[in-house]
């Protein structure tokens, strides 16, 4: 005979067994899935294993407050891409990141969290909140940190200024000037190069001064461009533009660099033909 009270007690007990089993299952799954390579939550996230990363961060038992803070950041970072994507997950993510920022906005973890909050507003929400994203990036810029994500925040600010200005009718020339003004706030060469590339291509896109675009391209090349394909594209674009503007030596140098690094590129014939034509024009 089960009294209602006993049944209620059993009902309260049953979930605890289920819950314990569930936790055990999660623990074993996580252990089994990460055992082979001993991957951390960060490793799992770097390899697109977001759901497993969430479980790994969720199961972690950080000892120090610093570890706990980094774990919150890792969990939020994984939650950003956990499937299925829900508003609740995004809200949880924002909460975790705001806590990290609230503790210290100036250290690496704080800067990373602030950058991610900007990205959530810019690209992760179903309806982007670009004004909020701008505020986050401006806060990052004001911090003056050389951290790559603080610097990237400034480049993102330039991107929004160029293509999603606060006032949509802002003339291109004003957008370009505002974006160019952000260059002074960058200290990391790779970020400076990214902004120069953005300015070069946007100047051309908006029909700005081609000489100015060429200057930006050359500045980016001088600062260094990390990805092979972007380096190839930039060398070729710079060469084509310089040729059109009559800067023969610049064009020849860029075509030559392009061909040296990319002998099989589909644009190789175009570059070789251009070099032959330019060589003829430079014969004394």
């Amino acid at each position: 005979m089960c009294s209602p009270t006993a049944a209620g007690r059993d009902a309260r007990r049953s979930p605890s067994i289920v819950q314990r089993l569930r936790l055990g299952v999660i623990a074993l799954t996580a252990a089994a899935s990460t055992h082979a390579a001993g991957e951390s939550g960060w490793d799992l996230t770097a390899h697109y294993r977001f759901n497993e990363a969430r479980d790994a961060f969720g199961l972690a038992r950080p000892v120090t407050p610093t570890e706990a803070r980094l774990n919150r950041l890792g969990l939020a970072n994984a939650l950003l891409n956990v499937q299925p994507r829900t508003d609740a997950t995004l809200t949880q993510c924002v909460g975790l990141l705001e806590k990290v920022v609230g503790e210290n906005v100036g250290d690496d973890a704080g800067i990373t969290a602030l950058y991610l909050l900007g990205r959530i507003d810019q690209i992760h929400r179903a309806t982007p909140d670009l004004a909020a994203a701008r505020r986050r990036y401006t806060q990052l810029a004001d911090g003056g940190s050389p951290h790559p994500l603080a610097q990237l925040g400034i480049v993102q600010l330039a991107l929004l200024t160029l293509y999603r200005p606060l006032v949509p009718t802002t003339p291109p020339v004003e957008r370009l000037a505002a974006a160019e003004a952000l260059a002074a706030r960058l200290t990391l060469p790779s970020a400076q190069s990214d902004l120069q590339l953005l300015l070069a291509r946007s100047t051309l896109f908006f029909g700005g001064a081609k000489e100015k675009a060429l200057e930006h391209f050359l500045a980016a090349r001088k600062l260094g461009i990390a990805p092979d394909r972007v380096r190839a594209d930039t060398a070729f674009s710079t060469a084509e533009l310089a040729r059109e503007l009559g800067h023969t030596h610049v064009a020849m140098e860029c075509y030559t660099a392009f061909l040296q690094d990319n002998p099989r590129d589909v644009r190789g014939w175009t570059a070789r033909q251009a070099l032959v034509a330019l060589a003829v024009t430079t014969v004394p």
Binding site: A31, L80, L116, P148, L149, L159, R267, G268
Partner: protein, 524 residues
């Protein structure tokens, strides 16, 4: 009470079963490569079941095993229909072979998770090319496109994951006996102008002879490929006019965005030439050819109901085997710059190097001897093995400059020439554009149909098809950017900022610049 006991027993059994299974997973031998009698066994899986290919791989394996007596290589052909499921099961289950073909169901996520980057390896010369004309070239430069194509280079991951072993290209295959009978010569047309002469002669010959005979054995698949090649060849001027970045690469994103911005459309001179040429070629095919399948076209050609079939190098082995007449291979009948009608705005005949490499292989994370797997791929895609591979498979090996058998020389890729115009794979990257073609093409071939009428009827849906495909591109790019945020942060926390993170950041910034341009164009 009894219920609770049963419940506990049930849960206990479930837990025990799970612990047992988890233990099996945890303590099983990882990796697919095993050792047999002290030898390393390397397994490589693919879906290339076509005649000649398996034999060619087997021959290459025998050569490799002779050079390396301590290694056994096992080929695992898997039917293409079950490939995606099979592959996923093997990868997720941790039982994947050492080398797996890439291209069906392999995306950034799968590749990053289950495959090893090969970038460092391809930046060095291939030792198996020693003593050959390409001995000093970086391995990547021994391929037609420098390993920058789809399923080889993964731009979001900034790594090369695949090594191709085959080249594919389109050609016109002529029945030599019929060609001589109809045209009085055995040398096939080399371009569109020469092809029009053959069109006239075939018409006269068919009238005199009577019966059902059409010049081209056509089908929807082949016609789509031809349409794509016509667009590449005729829209070079449109590319130069709509390329603000001076990149000269006519991607769907660039050219499609230009369509949305009003930079060019179906009424542009290049597209009008495409339609005129397509109509001209399509009228040489059987009525309703767009509904026919590849096998129908091959049968018509084999039965000598047609003089020519416009197909790919992938069909050559089959055509040789099934056709009881000599076949002569020539370039597709495309206009050249000296063409009196269609050559005026052409910059020239474009190279065939983009998207032409196939049978691409990657090394899995599960492989415990990746250096052995990479070494086998080096051997497979080497100069000398390429020659044998071509002779046995009757297909083009991926390695450039290989001394091809006489009959395969007409397939050699054109590697030089001005850039192609809009360069995309109609059904792979732009399914809605493919559907537009599929549902509208018939209008061009109806009796009395004109290009002008076709343009009036379909210009709106042409733009809509681009818009629809670009919305898909937009959504994919957004997802890529979102995932990129988490992986970038994880990368930065895991390692000090370096070249890899700088590459990821630059790629992300430029991708999002293009994304905003596209968004603005879609909102117009």
């Amino acid at each position: 009470m009894k219920d609770r006991l049963l419940q506990k027993i049930g849960f206990g059994l479930l837990a025990a079963a799970f612990v047992f299974a988890a233990g099996r997973v945890m303590f099983r031998a990882t990796g697919a490569t095993a050792r047999t009698n002290g030898k390393i066994v390397l397994r490589f899986a693919h879906w290339n079941l076509h005649g000649g290919l398996r034999e060619a791989y087997e021959q290459a394996i025998a050569g490799y095993e002779k050079l390396h007596p301590d290694i056994i290589v096992e080929q695992m052909p898997v039917p293409v229909r079950v490939w995606p499921t099979w592959q996923r099961t093997q990868l997720v289950g941790g039982t994947a072979p050492d080398i797996i073909q890439l291209g069906r169901g392999t995306n950034d996520e799968i590749v990053s998770r289950y495959f090893r980057p090969l970038t460092a390896a391809v930046l060095q010369p291939n030792p198996y090319n020693a003593g050959t004309p390409i001995a000093r070239e970086r391995w990547r430069d021994t391929f037609a496109d420098g390993l920058t194509g789809d399923n080889v280079y993964f731009p979001n991951l900034q790594e090369i994951y695949g090594v191709p072993t085959l080249q594919m290209n389109m050609r016109a295959f002529y029945n030599r006996e019929l060609l001589e009978k109809i045209s009085g010569r055995t040398e096939p047309p080399q371009n569109y102008a020469e092809f029009t002469v053959l069109m006239a002669k075939t018409e006269a010959w068919t009238k005199a002879r009577g019966g059902n005979f059409v010049l081209i054995a056509g089908s929807g698949d082949y016609a789509t490929h031809v349409f794509q090649r016509l667009i590449q060849s005729q829209t070079q001027a449109e590319l130069y006019a709509n390329d603000p970045d001076y990149l000269r690469t006519g991607t769907l994103l660039l050219m499609g965005t230009a369509v949305l911005r009003g930079g060019w459309d179906l009424r542009s001179p290049g597209m009008q030439r495409v339609l005129t040429l397509f109509q001209s070629l399509g009228r040489e095919m059987a009525p309703g050819f767009f509904q026919l399948k590849r096998d129908d076209a091959l049968l018509a050609f084999a039965q000598q109901s047609s003089l020519v079939i416009l197909s790919g190098s992938w069909d050559y082995s089959l055509i040789q085997r099934e056709c009881a007449f000599p076949v002569v291979v020539a370039p597709l009948p495309l206009p050249t710059p000296d063409d009196p009608t269609f050559g005026r705005d052409l910059l020239g005949v474009a190279p065939e190097t983009q998207s032409s490499l196939d049978a691409i292989y990657g090394v899995t994370q599960a492989c415990p001897h990746p250096e052995v797997a990479v070494d086998f791929l080096r051997y497979l895609a080497s100069y000398r093995v390429g020659g044998q591979f071509a002779a046995t498979s009757q297909r083009l090996p991926s390695t450039l400059g290989v001394d091809l058998p006489e009959n395969l020389r007409p397939f050699a890729l054109r590697t030089d020439g001005p850039v192609p115009g809009l360069n995309f794979s109609i059904n792979d990257s732009s399914p809605d554009f493919g559907r537009w073609l599929q549902t509208n093409a018939f209008r061009l071939f109806e009796p009395g149909a004109t290009v002008a009428d076709f343009t009036d009827q379909t210009a709106g849906s042409f733009r809509a098809a681009f818009a629809s495909d670009l919305r898909r591109v937009h959504d994919t790019q957004i997802k890529t950017s979102r995932r990129g945020d988490s992986t970038l942060v994880a990368q930065l926390v895991g390692d000090p900022p370096g070249a890899k993170t700088a590459q990821m950041i630059t790629t992300q910034v430029l991708r999002e610049m293009e994304l905003y341009r596209l968004q603005n164009a879609l909102e117009r």
